[in-house]
């Protein structure tokens, strides 16, 4: 059994993450209903934008950060087989992040921070919102420190052994998050907080958007890496087989970290404050970061095929039927890969330098990131929760039949929600509106899709409630069960001379630093050479 400290840490982090998730799902359902315009009594821009801002912050920052921290502590303790280094520091980070969340949640819920989760100036929120967001990030840096120290100490004691794959990926994720969060931290601490407190009169929205773009793309890999850890380290064993290749998995994680960072300008393709050459450079990087994901798709499918054939599957496709479809980990992986393929297609379109203009800031974009984040990533978070819960509580999962039902509900809901969203985007519907007021025939073509989206939202809410129910029931009503091992997948080939450069984190830091300097150096420096004009604060 894992030590009590680690279990407590992980349980608390995951509980905060999933509480935030449940609240955000309720808000999401309200939004899809309000936005449809089918119920005029519900229409209220004020409530809608407060709700959308809270939904975005809870899903993108609170669910993810707390989940990743909790899962990281579990991974470190189980894969390195040792207790958490300086648990006081870990708890301090937890407390700081939680305090930040509460400080930001109060103005959000009071409608004093209806600036959406991207909080682009010069619309100004309550200073508490920015301070809360900053504390949430600073708290997560404590987690990064614990992960990095644990990995380095283990490496010193095991000089000739590679880090276990799950810990290798977690270490890289901690490194990625430190680099990623610098952009938004600079924006919040140097620009937004002094400006919202009235210490500075004006703000440069161009610089703010550039710094935010620094964070906005790699943050999605911070969210995605735990899902990939489950795909590589848990899924093959749960399916009854082996991991096809440990080495390629390491290269994929490394590729995500290296190429995920210097590419944020694909969010600024149609922004006037950056020049075309820089955008093209970031565009090329954006395509390169697709390669680790293409490789992951192959390796995970190959691992599933090995399992299917070991289970007796024959022929070209026979192994698909012999996979354990009722196992939450395997089912999640299959559904996650399906959504990743669809979402990946959309991502290629968004990344395409010129083609992006057709879809930029349309409903297509919301459809895309719901498919990839709320689909692929969050469904793997569910699988990890089902995997971890019995190991953390010492109790059997409350129902092994309801878990697959919950996952199918989530998948169906997400497909029903995000497919119409993509279509609406192509039909020109903008994202981020609470009602349709354009006196145009075009908007008539939007109406039928709204109905499907409400159905999708309903299924998603039902799935989220069922998920919460299963976790709570496991805690309160389940039978005790025998100790479970962490169940990390094995590979059929033993490690053969894994090159030392894979784990040379100093080298990777230098390379990342050089790449960031190349892709962000001049674009940020230009704001200090150009004659720019700041903006005064505006309400909303």
């Amino acid at each position: 059994m894992i030590d009590a400290q680690t279990r407590r840490l992980t349980l608390w982090h995951l509980s905060v993450a999933f509480c935030a998730f449940l609240i955000a799902c309720i808000l999401g359902f309200y939004q899809v209903v309000e936005r449809s315009g089918i119920f005029p009594a519900l229409q209220s821009a004020k409530v809608y934008f407060a709700s959308v801002s809270t939904h975005g912050v809870l899903m993108a920052y609170v669910l993810t950060t707390f989940f990743i921290m909790g899962f990281g502590y579990y991974t470190a303790a189980t894969s390195l087989k040792r207790p958490i280094w300086h648990p006081t520091l870990a708890w301090a980070g937890f407390g700081l992040s939680l305090l930040g969340t509460v400080l930001a949640a109060i103005p959000l819920l009071l409608g004093r921070a209806s600036v959406l989760y991207t909080f682009y100036p010069p619309i100004q929120a309550s200073p508490w919102f920015y301070i809360g967001a900053a504390l949430l990030v600073v708290g997560s840096w404590a987690w990064c420190a614990v992960m990095l120290v644990m990995a380095l100490v283990w490496k010193r004691e095991n000089a000739n052994r590679p880090l276990p794959l799950a810990m290798y990926a977690t270490t890289l994720n901690a490194l990625l998050w430190l680099w990623t969060s610098v952009g938004v931290a600079l924006e919040v601490v140097l620009q937004l907080i002094p400006w919202s407190l009235g210490w500075t009169q004006t703000i440069d929205p161009g610089l703010a958007r550039t710094l935010f773009a620094w964070t906005l793309h790699p943050i999605v890999y911070f969210w995605l890496i735990p899902a990939y850890i489950a795909l590589y380290c848990f899924v093959p064993k749960a399916a009854g087989g082996f991991l096809f290749s440990d080495e390629i998995a390491r290269l994929a994680f490394l590729g995500l970290v290296l190429f995920g960072l210097p590419i944020g300008f694909h969010h600024l393709y149609v922004d006037p404050e950056q020049a075309a050459g820089w955008k093209l450079l970031h565009g090329i990087g954006t395509f390169l970061v697709a390669i680790p994901t293409l490789v992951t798709g192959f390796t995970v499918l190959a691992s599933l095929e090995i399992a299917g054939r070991l289970n007796g599957g024959k022929g070209l496709f026979g192994w698909i039927g012999t996979l354990p479809w009722g196992n939450p980990m395997v089912l999640s992986a299959i559904l996650a890969l399906l959504m990743l393929i669809l979402g990946g297609f959309g991502g290629i379109i968004n990344a395409s330098y010129a083609l992006n203009t057709m879809v930029h800031n349309t409903a297509w974009v919301s459809g895309h990131f719901h498919l990839i984040f709320a689909g692929t990533t969050v469904i793997m978070y569910f699988a990890i929760a089902y995997h971890l819960w019995p190991r953390l509580t010492g109790k059997a999962l409350y129902s092994n039949h309801l878990a697959p039902v919950q996952l199918w509900l989530w998948f169906s809901g997400m497909v029903l929600l995000s497919t119409p969203w993509h279509v609406l985007g192509l039909l020109g519907q903008p994202r981020r509106i609470s009602s349709v007021t354009y006196h145009s025939l075009l908007t008539l073509s939007w109406q039928p899709y709204e109905l499907f989206m409400i159905m999708g939202g309903g299924l998603l809410l039902a799935s989220a409630i069922l998920f919460g129910y299963l976790l709570v029931k496991t805690l309160t009503h389940s039978a005790l069960q025998a100790d479970l091992d962490p169940a990390y997948a094995e590979t059929p080939y033993p490690h053969k001379n894994l090159p030392a450069w894979l784990e040379n984190f100093k080298l990777w830091n230098l390379i990342i630093g050089a790449l960031m300097l190349l892709s962000f150096g001049i674009p940020i420096a230009q704001f200090f050479f150009l004659k720019t004009y700041g903006s005064t604060p505006w309400g909303y």
């Binding site: 600036v115 149609v270 955008k279 697709a290 349709v436 150009l530």
Partner: protein, 170 residues
């Protein structure tokens, strides 16, 4: 390091696919001259009304001495000014936008007129509209509680009609 031959093949396929996509993008950019709007040009958002280009009486559609068409618009909560413009189909038109208050985005649905309007910067797009009709010119970035209502109207008419009925006038 052990990399399976099958895996190696897949990596080559992935690299070739990505290389193909990037090649197409590079060709359309360098040969077709297709770039997203990216003119780094600053302006004081608090003094638009006093500027040469964005003062109220200077806004709207202008035919340049060389015959090309330029449209100058100000974005502000909640509209794009002037509120209604008529433009010819199938003709290159250069739009220039500046914001007088917060961040806006502008999109003419079903066309590739789509750009962010960041206060302090001038956004410029040159494009053609192939299909005549009435289009909402809408704001596609959250700009405040009235954001849903931020739209103006663009009417695209065929070249001949435009010349005879609207020639030279917005």
């Amino acid at each position: 390091m052990h990399i399976d031959p099958l895996e190696k093949k897949w990596v080559y396929i992935a690299l070739a696919t990505i290389g193909f996509f990037l090649g197409v993008i590079a060709l359309t950019a360098w040969i077709g001259g297709i770039y997203p709007p990216s003119n780094v040009e600053t302006i004081n958002p608090a003094r638009l009304h006093l500027s040469e280009e964005f003062a109220e009486n200077k806004l709207g559609l202008k035919i340049q001495p060389d015959g090309s068409i330029k449209v100058v618009m100000v974005a502000g909560r909640y509209g794009f000014y002037p509120r209604r413009i008529v433009v010819p189909a199938d003709t290159p038109i250069t739009f220039r936008f500046a914001s007088l208050d917060v961040l806006h985005g502008v999109h003419l649905p079903m066309t590739n007129l789509n750009t962010m309007i960041v206060p302090g910067y001038i956004a410029q797009v040159t494009t053609k509209f192939p299909i005549p009709g009435d289009y909402p010119l809408l704001c596609n970035e959250y700009c405040g509680l009235g954001h849903d209502f931020m739209w103006s109207k663009v009417t695209v008419v065929d070249k001949q009609t435009w010349k005879h009925e609207f020639g030279g006038r917005p």
